[in-house]
């Protein structure tokens, strides 16, 4: 029993690490630009397909494919900022609707480029760390956890130690006051969009060998990311990480002891409960919506 618990916790840790990458990106975009990016799950999918194309098909090194995925999806994010979110800055519903449109375009492009069937990505390594007879952690999963910790620490350092980071946080708190202080909202939006999209892309790229890569994989990712950011409080980065860990624990345990669909229902119900009891989320402060 203890072993089962330990194994489930390890699985949850893995799920939490890539979910927090996705959710933190989503929160960052919402914080700075005030728009909910519905296409975030599809950015995750793009990152996974970058690995399919570069690593599985072209046989390039995995690390290179992941980095390329980060940059590529980040650049797609820049394109979204320029083409969709900037013209619709004063129209939050418009930005959300445009991102739904973009989601469909990305899905259709993936179907046209790769077909609807699942892609097989060969595992980077077969190695498994064995803690005891029933407690294992596959190396690729460990990579995801390590990468998430490094990236989130780097993001934290960027936001708290650099001038760009301060500018970003300032425009998240009060865009008008930030603009009056000479901070370019266009620039902070670009940075936020690049980082936010890049994090989703890198999460997709890292997990590509571990999940079934298909054009519709973004749906479950965005649903989970919504749950995480609502529970954590829309706009709170720390909240997103904590909620990702908490949600992954609950979801993994319910999946282990019941089944996946029940776990989804429990997760969604938890989110509704949080919305009813404390609509600003556990860590949310000001109501920006």
């Amino acid at each position: 029993m203890v072993e089962l618990l330990a194994q489930t916790c390890l699985n949850a840790l893995y799920a939490a690490s890539y979910m927090s990458l996705v959710a933190v990106g989503l929160v960052l975009i919402f914080g700075v630009m005030g728009v909910i990016n519905f296409a975030h799950g599809e950015l995750f999918m793009l990152g996974a397909y970058a690995v399919v194309a570069l690593y599985a098909d072209l046989q390039l090194p995995f690390l290179f494919a992941v980095s390329a995925g980060l940059v590529f999806v980040g650049v797609v994010g820049l394109g979204m900022e320029r083409a969709l979110f900037r013209p619709l800055r004063n129209n939050p519903l418009g930005g959300l609707v445009a991102s739904i449109g973009f989601l469909m375009i990305l899905q259709a492009l993936a179907v046209m480029g790769f077909g609807v069937r699942m892609e097989h990505v060969p595992p980077v390594t077969q190695e498994v760390i064995t803690f005891s007879e029933k407690v294992h952690l596959a190396m690729p999963r460990l990579f995801v956890i390590i990468a998430a910790v490094i990236l989130l620490t780097a993001l934290w350092a960027f936001l708290t130690k650099t001038r760009f980071g301060w500018a970003l946080r300032a425009s998240a708190q009060d865009p008008e006051a930030a603009a009056l202080q000479g901070i370019s909202i266009n620039q902070t939006s670009r940075i936020a969009m690049f980082i936010g999209a890049g994090l989703a892309g890198v999460a997709g790229a890292l997990t590509a060998p571990l999940v079934s890569v298909n054009p519709h994989m973004g749906h479950s990712v965005i649903v989970t990311a919504f749950i995480v950011i609502i529970v954590g409080g829309v706009g709170s980065l720390e909240g997103a990480v904590v909620a990702a860990v908490a949600y992954s624990l609950v979801h993994t345990f319910v999946t282990t002891f019941y089944d996946g669909v029940i776990a989804d229902i429990v997760g969604l119900s938890l989110m509704l409960l949080v919305l009813i009891v404390k609509p600003t989320g556990l860590f949310g402060t000001a109501d920006r919506a």
Binding site: G101, M104, I105, V111, D264, L272
Partner: protein, 343 residues
């Protein structure tokens, strides 16, 4: 009264056109026409919901509630199909009433995401519980409408033309009811709740009660459209009511515009015709999500008030031209140039 005469003539012309239309189409186009008729009801009910300013992402699932309920009532309990369709719509109202308690504690984005979550929960319940919802495969062999002979016309509801007339009658009646609701004091209060919710509240309007009312009425008509769909296609499953259909409804409403009653209907009809004529005939069926996504983006960016704004523009030009002619003829006093006062 030439104006009233032209109005009546216009409506009569439309009625004749709609009744004659299926006979000019091929079998598969007739089937599409039935779906289009049902979708018009769906999108019009969606607009009723948006009147109070809240955009739901669970509307299609509510439609599914009507479909599942009506299918189960007729199949499991053996209820006469027309009755089960009405009961299905009422079930959707009931579910909406229950959902409104948690959902209307939220506003804006939170409502949007909350409604999405609530819809997903319902869809997952259908998927999870094989009994009675049939699991991922859904419900098959749903009882069709029983044949009906009304003397002038004998309805065989396996024929798309018959079902089209039936759906057309139901949808027309529903649209008329929705139109009356919007013009009633209740409907005007919906608008007030949308544009001036603080003011409405201070004037003694229970904002939340009106939001709930709009949600329940809209859900009832969505459920009705779902029930109509279920007894036509005969098979429903959780994926019939997924996010993709929701995005289509959203696209119809946004491309058409939601400020007028006809806006979303216009969007639905125009895009469905485009879909049929352009995409399917030319073999671009695979591109459908791509084109819809592009249309959604383009209309948000370049036509934020929807197709209805184009129609309004043309109408206004015409009235202005008429007025100019009239004033030149020297009886300008008899004409009042009516500025459209759409809410």
């Amino acid at each position: 009264m030439p104006r009233a005469v032209s109005h009546i003539a216009g409506w009569l012309g439309l009625a004749v056109l709609l009744i004659a239309l299926p006979h000019a189409l091929s079998f598969s186009q007739q089937e599409v026409l039935v779906f289009l008729t049902i979708n018009v009801l769906l999108v019009a009910s969606y607009r009723l919901l948006t009147l109070t300013g809240e955009w739901s992402l669970g509307h299609v699932v509510i439609m599914g509630v009507g479909a599942y309920a009506s299918a189960l009532y007729s199949k499991q309990l053996g209820i006469y199909v027309p009755v089960s369709i009405i009961l299905g719509a009422l079930t959707a109202v009931l579910v909406a009433m229950v959902l409104s308690y948690p959902l209307f504690r939220m506003k804006g984005f939170y409502f949007l995401i909350g409604s999405f979550a609530a819809g997903e929960i319902i869809r997952l319940l259908w998927k999870r519980f094989r009994d009675p919802f049939g699991g991922p495969k859904g419900i098959k062999k749903i009882n069709p409408m029983p044949d009906l002979d009304i003397g002038v016309y004998s309805f065989d509801f396996f024929e798309p033309v018959s079902y089209y007339y039936f759906a057309l009658a139901v949808v027309t009646l529903s649209l008329w009811v929705m139109w009356r609701i919007e013009r009633s004091p209740v409907g005007l209060t919906f608008h007030a709740v949308h544009w001036q919710d603080k003011l409405a509240q201070s004037a003694g309007v229970d904002v939340r009660a009106y939001r709930t009312r709009a949600f329940m009425i809209a859900s009832g008509f969505a459920g009705l459209s779902g029930a109509l769909l279920a007894h036509y296609i005969g098979t429903i499953n959780p994926n019939s009511f997924d996010v993709e259909l929701m995005v289509f409804v959203l696209t119809w409403a946004i491309v058409g515009g939601t400020a007028t009653f006809y806006g979303p209907i216009l969007g639905c009809v125009v895009l469905s015709i485009l879909n049929e004529v352009v995409l399917r005939e030319l073999g671009f069926e695979q591109m459908r999500p791509f084109i819809y996504g592009l249309l959604l983006i383009c209309s948000v960016l370049f036509l934020p008030n929807g197709l209805e704004s184009v129609v309004q523009h043309i109408m206004r030009r015409r009235t202005n031209v008429q007025a100019a002619k009239a004033s030149r003829a020297g009886d300008s006093a008899r004409y009042n140039v009516e500025e459209r006062t759409e809410p």
